[in-house]
């Protein structure tokens, strides 16, 4: 069974519309969670990280927000999408003290 599940797989949204992307981690206690963004054809950039429930740190300001409502859940959202939000969003996890990040299968977002 997969440890990390992201939803939806893909989204096509209009500029100005809201967005919510989700990530669930199964079978890991208190993982560190991360959101990364990959612009089309580009490299990956860390957006947010969370060490514990209810606590999220922003790394890059892209008019997005993130929340961690449960130990195993990480949500990325915005109330108003921009064209520049298009790209591939990846959730990742690691256990505290471990060095390796493991990534989900990603959500492809197209903003029109």
């Amino acid at each position: 069974a997969q440890t990390i599940h992201q939803w939806p797989v893909a989204e096509i949204k209009a500029v100005g519309s809201p967005l919510s992307l989700g990530c669930t981690i199964k079978g890991k206690s208190s993982p560190n969670l991360y959101w990364y963004w990959q612009a089309t054809g580009g490299t990956l950039q860390q957006l947010f990280y969370s060490i514990t429930v209810g606590q999220v740190e922003s790394v890059v300001q892209l008019n997005l927000s993130a929340s961690r409502p449960k130990d195993d859940q990480f949500i990325l959202s915005t109330e108003k999408l921009l064209l520049s939000h298009s790209g591939f969003y990846l959730c990742a996890w690691r256990l505290g003290g471990a060095e390796t990040l493991y990534f989900g299968s990603g959500t492809r977002l197209t903003v029109l």
Binding site: T43, Q46, Y49, L90
Partner: protein, 114 residues
């Protein structure tokens, strides 16, 4: 400043040929180095990692990488590529601390020709 450079945006090799994908990093601390692979329309999969010890690390599917501290390099190698190895390969260095931040290179697209 921390950075990762993958100088080759695209590499094309014939099936069965050997492969080297180059990676150089800039990081003042102890480098934790990774290679990830991204198949079309998929997330990242970990190929291999280096923390310490033997500078040559083995990964999945016959890949290996060598950490050369004097050269700040972590090149990826494979003795004989298969068409299914066609993908984008990312080199990354992890920033120590709770942020878990990985600095990625721009990636190298590998095209294996039959």
């Amino acid at each position: 400043a921390q950075s990762v450079t993958q100088p080759d945006a695209r590499v094309t090799v014939s099936e069965g040929a050997s492969l080297q994908l180059r990676c150089k990093y800039s990081y003042s601390g102890t480098p934790y180095l990774f290679w990830y692979v991204q198949y079309p329309r998929q997330g990242l999969q970990l190929l291999l990692k280096y923390y310490s010890g033997d500078p040559v690390v083995q990964g999945v599917n016959g890949f290996e990488a060598e950490f050369i501290k004097s050269n700040s390099s972590f090149h990826l190698r494979k003795a004989s590529v298969h068409w299914s190895d066609s993908a984008v390969y990312f080199c990354a260095v992890r920033i120590t601390g709770n942020t878990g931040k990985l600095i990625f290179g721009l990636g190298t697209t590998l095209q294996v020709q039959p």
